[in-house]
Every structure is written in C-alpha cells, then in structure tokens.
C-alpha cells in the first residue's frame, strides 16, 4: 500500500473527523492499553467517527476476543478503509488476474507496490499510476506534490531507481474561478516535487469538464528501472531481523488521510480537512531514494516497504502479514517532529518520505552508516518475532513507553478486511442518454464554416496547446528523455549501450465512459495502446487508475463493474496484463458522481530508441514533400466527441466502436514500419479527430501540408476532419517507401487512405475547402491557457505572429462556461456551488466561521501542533491567491515544503525561502 488516500472508507452518513484519531487516546483516559481494554470491555468507542460500520466493529471485537484499544481501533479503521482494503472493488478486480494473458515478462504483479516487467535479460522496469484526488482539491500544491512523492516511493520500494513521472489531470470548467485556484497549484505542486527529485515529466493529460468541478482528478504515474536481481520484497522475513524506520521524522500531517479525507464524498466542509493533507519535502525524498539504492546495491536490505497512505500502520502490518511473522515494535523510538504525539497519532500519521526496512542485525551498522552519509534518519524501532504457536502466523505487538497498546494478528488488518459485493444498477438515465446521438446535430458544411470550426476546436481548453503546464516540468533531467509531451507517448532510453528503451502513455475519456463504461474503458486502453504503438514500440503491460463516484451508489458501482470488465476483457484480447494500479472511489460532490473515469497506462518496449517515430511532420526533403496517409477506417462517429462538446455542449449517444483486433494489427504494422524506417512521423487520431492531428503535427516543426479529403464533397470533409473513430493514425511516409509501406499495410490488413503531402509552404491547405496559415493556427492553438490562467508572459521579444484570436469565441465553449450539460447537470450544479463557497471564503478563518463546529474542532487540534497549523495556514494563502482569479500567475503560495521547523540530521535546514517568495504578490 502506498501513497495516499484517495478512496475512502464507506463512511456513509457518519461525520468523519481527523480529531477522532487523537480523541480515541483521550477518551480512554491516559493511554489505552491492551490490559485496560481487557478490563473495560464495555467502554464506548468512536468507531463510526473513524468510518467503521457497526458490524465491522463487531468483527474486530471477535478477532481480538476483547474490545480494541484506541490504537488498534484506529489501525483497523485505516486498514479496513476503502482505500487500503479495496473492500468494494476487490470482487471485481479479480478479473484482472483471472483474465490475465500468459506473460513471462511479469516479475511482480497486482498486490505488490508496483508491477515489475522484465525488458531484457538483466533489466526490468516497474510502473504504476495512482490517484491523489481529494488531497489535491483540498490543498492543490501539497496534494499534488505528495501524490508524486507517494507513487515514486512505490517504485523505489520495488528496488528500482525512479526515472520519470507522468500526470493525468482533470479539472472543472476551464474558466470557473475555482479551476484557477486548483490548476495552478496542482501544476506547481507536481513541478515543485518532481523537478526537485530530478525526475523528468514525460507526459500525461490535462482535461477540463464541469463534471470534475468539485472533484478534480490528480493521478500520478511513475516508472523506475532495476537490474532484475535487485527486485525487492516487502516480507518481514527472518526472525530476529531489525525493523528500521528510514527517512523523515513523523509528524501530525496527513493523520486520517486514507479514512477521513479519502473517506467520503466531499461535502461543504472540505477546507476543514486540510490537516489531513500531507506535506511534502522533495529534498528528503531525493536523499531517501539515493540511500535506498545504495542499501539495495550493497545487499543490506532483507525487506522494504514504503510509508504512504496509512503510514506505519500499513507498513508494519503488511510486511509482517506478507511473511507470516510477528513483529515487536517500540513506538517511543520513532523520531517525532512533535514530542506530544500519542501512540495512535504516530501509527496513523502519513508523514511523507519514510520507508520501513527489514535488516539483518549484522548489517544494522552498515545501514546506519549509509543513512548517515545521505543525512537521513534511520532508527531501529522493532524486530521480527516468531509465531508463538506452531503453524499460526505471529502477532504484531506494539508498546509505547512500556505500555502495550497493540496486540493483533497482522493479517487481520492487511489481508482479512471486509469484502463487499455492493449492489449494482444501470443508471436510470443511460438509455435516454445513449439515444441522444451527436450524429444528428447540425454540422458545419461550407468551407468557411469548416475553417472556423477547426480554429475554434484547436483553441478549446481540451485541445489547445498545454505548454503553459508542461514547461513548468523538467523533461530533460537524467538525460534519457527521447520523447516527451506533447508527443503521443513518453519515450525513455533505459540502456545507453544498446539503445533499449520504453514508451509510456496514459489516457482516459470520462465522456466515453459515461456513455458506455464497458466500451469507454476499452477505448481508454485502445488509445493508450495506440499512443505507444505510433512511436514504434511493442506494448507489454498495463496499469490503471479507476476514478469513480461513491461505491455505495448502485449506479456508480454498475459503472465500475462495467469498466473493470471492459478493461479486463480488453487486456485479455490485446494480450497485455494489468500489472497494478489503484481504485479511487467517492469522487463526487453531494449526490452527483463524476463521469466514470478509468485512466489507463500502457508500457511498450523499443529495442532501439533511435528508431522511435515522433509525431511532427519532418521538414520536407524537397519541393514534393513526404506522403501523408491515414491508417484505419473513418466512419461517422461523433457521439461523445470533442466536436459535439465544444460546438454544441452535447454529450449523448454511444462512443466510437472499438475493435481491439484492428488496434493490434495497426500496432504490428507501425512497429514493423518503424523498424524498417518506412515512416518518419506518426500521430494517433483521437480527441478532436484528424483536424487536431494535422494541426499538431504541422505546428510541431512548422511544416505545412496539402490535404485532399476523400469522399463526397458535401458531408464527408466534416466527418473526415472531426470523427473520433478509434484504431486510426496519421503517418508520414517518404516517397521512396510508399510501395513497400502500402504492401506492408496490406499484409497486416490495415486500410490505408492517401491524404496528401507535406509542404514547404507554411499552410494547412485542405484542398477544395480552406487553407489556414500555420501562424494563424499557432495563435489560436497556443493562446488559450495563458488567457485562462495568466502567468508566464513573454519577458523578451519573442517573435510570435500576433493574429487576432478574438474571432474564436472562447466563451461560447461549454468547457469554458460550465453550463450544466445533459446528465452532467446535477454534478455540475453542486460542483459550482461548492466551488463558489470555496471561492467566496478563501481564508481558512472565513471557512472556520462558516463551518462552525467542525472547523473549530480542527482549529483547536491544529493549534496544538505547529505542523498542522502550518498546513492550514499555507492552504489559506493558496486559496486567497486563487481568489484573485485568472489574472495572476498564482504560483502556489503553499510551496512551503516541510512547514515545521524540522532540522533534519543532515546539514539541511528546512527550506524556507520559497515560502517567503511565494507570499509576494503574484500578478504579472
């Protein structure tokens, strides 16, 4: 288990609160010990406040043969939360294993921190995507930053050096004021953490849709590389081995993250959960990475587990349960940021940048020396113990200053959580929604209308240039980035000697999945697969992040079940296994769930990255230009499309048909064409259709194209330009290779349509229809993000032709206006009011006064610890910055990593300059 909390326990109606964790200790008098629990069986315990249902609480009593202590109760509430136990999703996720195609590459799969895939005799890669949605809404900068930190530690725990990150992001309407609060903070948080870790950011997505207004999706993917023999395990094996806590000291941040924050749908009091958001320190994580890698290489680690969501509780129980051993832990040895922390708080803290090591006693000194070299804390906090009874697993016994506060079978926490087969029911509105097809909407017909539509589409928030975001990420560090955004897939060189590398893409489409979650999941898989194959790579493995509403809503559960079935079937058909991932439930505001949003990552292998195929048209070799072909079949498929959304605010009908066998044929063709160097550029066709792809490929290197659209001149050009039929790609073939390429395509059964040529003239010329200069396209394509979010104005005299973009009416787009659309209505309305209240009350004080009881409860607990106080303080600043609207490039005020005064043992005081910088006015 790792990063943080995103899903939450089925909290139902219970009012969850982080203070309940502290309160449990207090309720029980001084310190609630096992001895006392046995003596006072009838003492009332706040299990509902901690998200546990009555029957779950009864089961805990049954397992222990007594009431749980305060600490035990907290641990069960955490480990049995939706986030940790997968209690609602487990029965469905089994399909990924059952339907998994045979695969000899997989060295570790589902259930591990991340899946591990062998890519050569001696090298393997590990990759996974996770969600950090709720923390990123509550506190965008820290939420997103610690999302990166968490997934990176998962990768590290497998024995790998993390080598890149990617971030699929989904926000509310682009012009909604709250999006101006959330997006800049999230982007700066991802950049602030990833850049400081020295990990290139090589891809991702940025999607706007009112469905995410009150619940943005911040998913984070990381990939790492390891020598096959360095693969690490989490088992706490070896009786007598020492349990070592490595990394940052434990503080009060993130307490209850998995159960309280991820815990439930957001209501109007989201701000008061800021203390449940963790605070990241990327410098500490960088030191942690380097020290762990040094420990692995020296063979000093018998087992390792990262601490993320659920903190020590999760790491202790999972390592012990995996090995079947017992564990004895002395909690007072845990280095603390705040001496006043109770045992329950120590166990529940989600402080970042920590790892749990299992170390042979003979090697302890060497481990401590490595930690000292890198300036990180390393503390022996316990030891692996034998089972008392033969054949039975051992027990986890935790004491605090001579009081035994926990005595449990670790497996009961880690493995034997509740499992629910929740009711499922197809959403009542689905039939009507599917009947409302976009194919019947009025279409542009005249050349002038088509021209205008192209310009309007490329300037729309979902299709426009995202450099505003991606240039805040380092894509060069480590020197192995071969392709990065805006390319279809990120491509990394893994082995400098042989050129062996990987391609990675991550995709999702919530609108498609809303219309048909089964097909929508397959379409997400198909798109990620296609994005990988256009680079010439061979797809080998899948990771997924399943973002859904509340599992307690049968309609949401139906969407989830359908999406999982679709993804499992799709993977089976494509012959590539799901190696790991994450489920994020409770993504909804009030009663309105987000669109079901399965996000799928596909990993491919390139034997020689020098042969990768980029997306941009290369400069034409001569006056004649290279040849353009569309591969695949284009039909009249516009339901769920970007065109229907941008021009009509429409969502209805059935998504494009997906034919995975055809995708596979396309993939094989592209791999061979790349290998034989028949294609010099290739670009996947998806959102926005051919129009989008022509514009992106032309602008990438400023090369024009002359295109003849096939078919009937009256209607066909529109379909050709904007249909989102799956299984297609645009390729550029040098003239000398045309015959060979066509023959190869025929051999693979992939339809080829000649489209035209690339040109030296910097114009996109759709013959018989319209022509648009690349300067005009560029102006439309690149202006949107800066207009929305302000920030990096050009400081020098950058050339850029300035054509008027005002003709493209941005405000007419539904992604801008946040108008309720079809079935998304309720969600949007609720989201808007939610966001509006956040907007109106940017400071935490104001929120406190409007949230009476709950907030003051938090405030009083926060005042006890400078740490939590710091978190809510910075969050308040961030909110205020957002309140100034899109004008300021609101560089996240909350960029303070490690708020508390925490002089770590190295020569490294907590960074503070950034915070002071951030408090300056941010208007450009």
């Amino acid at each position: 288990m790792t990063t943080q909390p995103d899903t939450v326990t089925g909290a139902g109606e219970a009012k969850l609160s982080a203070t309940a964790f502290a309160a449990t200790d207090v309720l029980a008098g001084d310190i609630d010990t096992v001895e006392q629990a046995a003596k006072t069986p009838d003492e009332l315990q706040p299990h509902t406040e901690l998200g546990l249902k009555d029957d779950e609480y009864d089961r805990i009593r049954q397992i222990l043969g007594r009431r749980p202590t305060a600490s035990e109760l907290a641990m069960y509430s955490i480990m049995w939360s939706e986030h940790c136990s997968y209690k609602s999703s487990k029965v469905h996720l089994r399909q990924f294993g059952e339907k998994a195609p045979k695969n000899t590459r997989m060295l570790a799969g589902i259930g591990e921190n991340a899946g591990v895939v062998q890519i050569s005799d001696d090298l393997a890669v590990t990759f996974k995507v996770e969600s950090h949605n709720h923390p990123s809404y509550v506190e965008p900068y820290q939420g997103a930053a610690t999302g990166v930190g968490g997934i990176v530690r998962d990768i590290l725990a497998m024995g790998a050096r993390p080598v890149a990150v990617m971030d699929p992001l989904r926000f509310g309407a682009a012009d909604h004021p709250d999006t101006a609060r959330v997006l800049p903070g999230v982007v700066a948080g991802i950049g602030g953490y990833g850049n400081c870790l020295g990990l290139p950011n090589i891809g991702g997505e940025i999607v706007f849709d009112p469905t995410y207004q009150g619940n943005p999706l911040v998913n984070a993917l990381s990939i790492g590389v390891l020598p096959v023999e360095r693969l690490q395990h989490k088992e706490a094996a070896g009786i007598g081995n020492i349990v070592v806590l490595l990394g940052a000291r434990t503080g009060r941040d993130g307490i209850g993250g998995v159960s309280v924050l991820a815990s439930a749908t957001f209501d109007e009091g989201a701000e008061q959960r800021r203390p449940s958001v963790q605070v990241g320190d990327p410098f500490m994580e960088k030191l942690l990475i380097e020290s762990c890698l040094e420990l692995y290489d020296a063979g000093l680690v018998a087992g390792i587990q990262d601490l993320g969501g659920a903190g020590l509780t999760c790491a202790l129980t999972e390592t012990a349960a995996a090995a079947g051993t017992g564990m004895r832990v002395w909690l007072e040895r845990v280095p603390l940021r705040e001496a006043s922390m109770s045992p329950t708080e120590i166990l529940a803290s989600e402080s970042q940048e920590r790892m749990l090591l299992i170390v042979n006693p003979d090697k302890l000194d060497e481990v401590l020396a490595v930690a000292e070299k890198w300036g990180v804390w390393a503390t022996a906090i316990g030891e692996v113990t034998p089972s008392e009874t033969e054949g039975e697993p051992g027990r986890l016994v935790i004491s605090w200053n001579d009081h035994v506060v926990v005595d449990v079978p670790p497996g009961s926490l880690a493995d034997d959580g509740p499992v629910y087969a929740r009711p499922i029911r197809e959403p009542g509105d689905l039939i009507l929604l599917q009947a409302d097809r976009a194919e019947t909407l009025p279409r542009p017909a005249s050349p002038e209308e088509l021209r205008e539509t192209v310009l309007r589409m490329i300037a729309s928030p979902n299709l426009c240039d995202k450099t505003w975001v991606t240039e805040q990420y380092d894509r060069y560090v480590l020197g192995n980035t071969v392709l990065a955004q805006p390319e279809d897939a990120g491509v990394l060189r893994i082995d400098e000697k042989t050129g062996l590398g990987v391609a990675l893409s991550v995709d999702g489409n919530g609108r498609y999945a809303r219309l048909d979650p089964y097909e929508g999941a397959k379409l997400a898989l198909a798109e990620a697969y296609r994005n990988v194959v256009v680079t010439g790579a061979e797809p080998v493995a899948v990771t997924d992040c399943l973002n859904f509403g509340s599992p307690e809503d049968p309609a949401v559960m139906w969407q989830f079940a359908e999406a999982v079935r679709g993804l499992a079937d799709g993977c089976q058909e494509l012959g590539i296994p799901v190696t790991g991932g994450n489920v994020s439930f409770y993504n909804q505001t009030g009663a309105a769930a987000i669109h079901p949003t399965p996000v799928v990552g596909v990993l491919g292998i390139l034997d020689d990255v020098a042969k990768r195929v980029p997306m941009g048209f290369p400069p034409p070799p001569g006056a004649e230009g290279d040849l353009l072909f569309v591969l695949g079949t284009t039909t009249d498929e516009l339901s769920g499309s970007e065109w229907a959304w941008v021009t009509h605010g429409h969502l209805g009908g059935k998504p494009p048909k997906v034919d995975l066998a055809a995708e596979q044929r396309l993939g094989k063709l592209l791999a061979q064409a790349a290998e034989r160097e028949f294609v010099v550029a290739a670009h996947d066709l998806s959102d926005g259709g051919l129009s989008q792809v022509l514009v992106e490929s032309a602008l990438r290197r400023n090369v024009g194209a002359k295109v003849t659209l096939p078919g009937d001149a009256r209607t066909a050009p529109f379909v050709w330009l904007f249909s989102e039929s799956a299984g297609r790609a645009l390729v550029v073939v040098p003239r000398g290779h045309e015959t060979a390429f066509r023959a190869l395509a025929e051999e693979h059964g992939v339809p080829v349509t000649a489209l035209g040529v690339t040109t030296e003239e910097q114009v996109l010329d759709i013959e018989g229809q319209f022509a648009i200069g690349l300067d005009e396209l560029r102006t439309a394509f690149t202006g949107t993000m800066r207009r929305l979010f302000g920030g990096p104005a050009e400081l020098g005299a950058e050339s850029a032709t300035v054509a008027s973009v005002s003709a493209i009416s941005a405000t007419a787009d539904p992604s801008f206006t946040s108008a309720p659309i079809t079935a998304a209505g309720p969600s949007e309305a609720a989201g808007a009011s939610q966001a509006a209240s956040a907007q109106g009350a940017p400071s935490s004080d104001a929120v406190g006064s409007s949230q009476a009881a709950g907030a003051s409860e938090i405030a009083s607990s926060a005042s006890g610890g400078s740490n939590t106080a710091g978190v809510s303080g910075t969050a308040g600043v961030s909110g205020a910055a957002g309140g100034s609207g899109a004008a300021g490039g609101s560089e996240p005020a909350a960029s303070l990593p490690g708020g508390p005064v925490d002089s770590s043992p190295a020569q490294a005081p907590a960074p503070s300059d950034k915070a002071t910088e951030a408090e300056k006015p941010t208007q450009d």
Partner: protein, 234 residues
C-alpha cells in the same frame, strides 16, 4: 583530461554533466560534497539541481561544503570551473562570480529550448564557439533571473565577461538578457541554461552544448602544452 563533477545532496544533473564530459572526450570524475580532495582533476563542473534542497537560498549552503572550499581556492589559482544552473547559483554565493540568481520574474519554473548568443569565446569553456554565434540549449529553472547592480552589469559588459545572452525571448527576466558570465580570468563560468542536455541528437534539441565541454578539453590540452597558463588568455 579529468573533469570533476561534484555531487551535493540534491544535485540532479550530475550524471548528465558526467555523460557530457565523456561524450566530449574527457574523463569524468565524480566528486563528493563532503570530501575536500579534488582527486587531481583538471577542471570542475558544478551541476544543476537543488543542492541541500535550496535551503536558505539556492546555493547558499553548498558554498560551505568542504569540496567548495578547495574549489574556491583552486579556481582563484586558475582551475577551470563551470557552474550550471544550481552550480551558477553556488558560484555566485561563493563570490567567484558577481551578481545573484533570483526567482524568475513570472514566478514559474520554466523548461524550454532556449536560443543563446555567445558573447565571448575567451573563456576556458567557450573557446570552441565563435563570437556572436547563436546556439540552442535547454533552460529549466525556477530561480534563474540574473540580477546585479548597474555598476557590475556595466563592468561585465565593458570587460567582455558576458558569456551568453538569451535571445529570441528571455525565459526568466534576467537583467540585460544575461544567461552566462565569467570571472576576470575567464576560467570560471556560470551558465543558467543546461549545455549538458544538448550533447546527443537523441535526447537534446541540438548538439550545441558539447562546445562548452570540448572547449575545456582544448583549453586544458593547451595548458598542458604550455601555451596557456592559469585560465584562458584574454
């Protein structure tokens, strides 16, 4: 020729700098911040990153690292030193170069391929370029805005110590578009953009960054042959 690359806690582009040295034909020697011994290297690169987490100010702590005390002395004696990004910040904090690098004017981290115009070839690190030559290398920083008082800026210009200017756009608001400067002797150069990320066609926007490393090797070869002593000729 042996070129040392220093690793501080939080250095990130150290591996890339070492790779660039190797591709240029030199031998890269990794130096550790806590070790004052330079192990006989002929030149030193201070790489990009966030040394000591950028605590206090970028480069402010690194300046006091044991290895820096040796480097400062050696640099005063003519040892060629190239500070890239965070390395530039360290050189300013160590007073080997004038001025300071502050938060980008627009307050965002920015990563892009950046055009530079070479201002002087009379340094240990730029002799393989031509004056006025335009090159393209990546820039990526959050605190790369070069500032100094007017007198210092005037002096840098008058003495030909501006090694490179940003051109076709200034990515961070640096005064007078300054991207790189050198000391009076020409052996110490600080540059905000990243030449080490433009040394391979596969991974960089150009091969223009290689010139900095081949210049140093040429300079060292010249020094070894007795043609040059103590930094570049001016």
């Amino acid at each position: 020729m042996r070129i040392g690359v220093v690793t501080f806690p939080g250095s990130l582009d150290d591996g890339d700098a070492a790779r660039a040295v190797r591709i240029a034909g030199g031998e890269a020697v990794r130096l550790w911040h806590g070790d004052a011994d330079l192990h006989g290297v002929d030149a030193v690169v201070l790489p990009g990153g966030f040394s000591y987490g950028d605590a206090l100010r970028c480069g402010a702590i690194a300046r006091f690292a044991p290895v820096m005390e040796t480097i400062v002395d050696a640099a005063r004696g003519g040892l060629p030193v190239l500070g890239i990004c965070n390395g530039f910040q360290v050189l300013c904090e160590a007073h080997l170069l004038p001025g300071a690098l502050t938060r980008n004017q627009h307050l965002h981290f920015r990563n892009r391929d950046q055009h530079l115009r070479i201002g002087t070839t009379e340094t240990a690190w730029t002799s393989n370029f031509t004056e006025g030559e335009e090159i393209l290398i990546p820039v990526k920083n959050g605190e790369g805005c070069f500032v100094a008082d007017t007198k210092t800026l005037d002096a840098l210009e008058a003495e030909g110590r501006i090694v490179a200017w940003y051109t076709r756009g200034n990515p961070n608001g640096s005064q007078r578009d300054i991207a790189a400067i050198t000391n009076e002797a020409g052996n110490v150069v600080g540059i905000m953009p990243h030449p080490e990320h433009a040394v391979e066609a596969l991974t960089g926007p150009s091969l223009d960054g290689l010139g900095f490393f081949t210049s140093a090797l040429r300079h060292l070869a010249g020094a070894a042959g007795g043609q040059l002593t103590g930094g570049a000729t001016r």
